[in-house]
């Protein structure tokens, strides 16, 4: 059942701190979270976590807290070249024990605001795989499907999934 905890005093969102990298890594190793990312080994997770930490140095990553403990993470990854730097890709994950409580929506809303601090960014994108619960959040926040690529991620020899790219204009109010 949905219960929004984000209005309660124990809830907070602030910038990601590098010391939280091991907690982020642990979440990414959790199969319930990992299935929505293209990660399958500790090497993959280490690589992704390292990227996250590097982007966080530019103040592009945030952490959701409950009673001062991290329960969710969000980040925007910036693109390096000027002509395409108008886009940013958003990532987020929520501790399974805190899902369906408004944390993901709050993180994404904050990521959109964060992207606006970078004046060059005009659109926020988010890549999900078929069946990901994040799709509901994206639609609620006015993201629209940009394109779908079948077979992009392979879970096993016989099982692949499409990636679906959603995007929203920063001209739209959150």
């Amino acid at each position: 059942m949905f219960h929004d905890i984000t209005k309660e005093s124990q809830f907070d969102i602030r910038y990601f701190e590098e010391k939280e990298a091991p907690i982020l890594k642990n979440h990414l190793l959790n199969p319930l979270i990992q299935k929505w990312f293209p990660l399958s080994s500790e090497i993959d997770v280490d690589l992704f976590t390292r990227n996250w930490v590097n982007f966080a140095k530019h103040r592009t990553a945030i952490t959701a807290l409950w009673d001062q403990q991290p329960i969710g993470f969000g980040a925007i990854f910036l693109l390096p070249y000027k002509k395409v730097a108008i886009h940013t890709m958003a990532y987020l994950l929520v501790d399974p024990a805190f899902q369906r409580k408004g944390v993901g929506t709050s993180l994404m809303r904050n990521l959109i605001h964060l992207s606006r601090d970078f004046r060059i960014i005009e659109k926020v994108q988010c890549e999900i795989y078929q069946g990901c619960a994040l799709e509901g959040i994206l639609k609620r926040l006015s993201f629209e499907k940009a394109f779908t690529q079948e077979g992009f991620v392979r879970f096993s020899e016989f099982e692949t999934s499409a990636r679906i790219i959603f995007e929203r204009s920063n001209k739209i109010e959150v």
Binding site: S40, A146, G151
Partner: protein, 162 residues
């Protein structure tokens, strides 16, 4: 023509081709700094790390480059984005088509790729070649690229199962 893994001393050749405004307009880079960075990633990183950047030779002359942006991530290793470029003065001689055919063979046989994909800006004439060589459009990323004059261009997304 022969195809060899690219060497780092060929980075300036690639960078000089990319610096040609007629070529650069089909790529996301906009200035020399970005061109040098992209060339180093193309040959320096992918060539060195994965052996997946190739130089196309005609006799003793470099006439093209291609690379596969292979992913180290297990779940993504079956597919790859690629880039291809032909010497500005060697265009219209079938080098692009021949290289594309070779590229597909190498993707499948040397790197185990089953899904090959590319990104091309809407007005790029190479799009016709990709269609003729069996690539299909699976999407359009509208207004993906913003030119310095403020105009936007769409990115056409194409792929082919090998």
């Amino acid at each position: 023509m022969r195809y060899e893994v690219s060497l780092e001393d060929q980075i300036p050749i690639l960078a000089s081709w990319l610096s040609d405004p007629q070529i650069l307009r089909w790529f996301p880079m906009v200035n020399q700094l970005e061109i040098e960075d992209a060339s180093k990633i193309w040959i320096g990183y992918f060539g060195k790390t994965f052996g997946s950047a190739f130089t196309v030779w005609e006799g003793e002359q470099v006439v093209g480059f291609f690379n596969f942006y292979l992913s180290p991530i297990q779940k993504l290793r079956h597919q790859t984005l690629f880039s291809i470029i032909v010497h500005p003065e060697k265009r219209g001689q079938g080098i692009g088509r021949q290289t594309l055919q070779e590229l597909k063979k190498r993707a499948k046989n040397d790197f185990g790729i089953s899904l090959l994909h590319l990104e091309v800006y809407r007005e790029n004439p190479a799009r016709k070649l990709y269609l003729e060589e069996g690539f299909e459009e699976y999407g359009v990323h509208v207004n993906f690229l913003k030119e310095e004059d403020g105009t936007y261009r769409d990115k056409i997304l194409m792929q082919q199962w090998l």
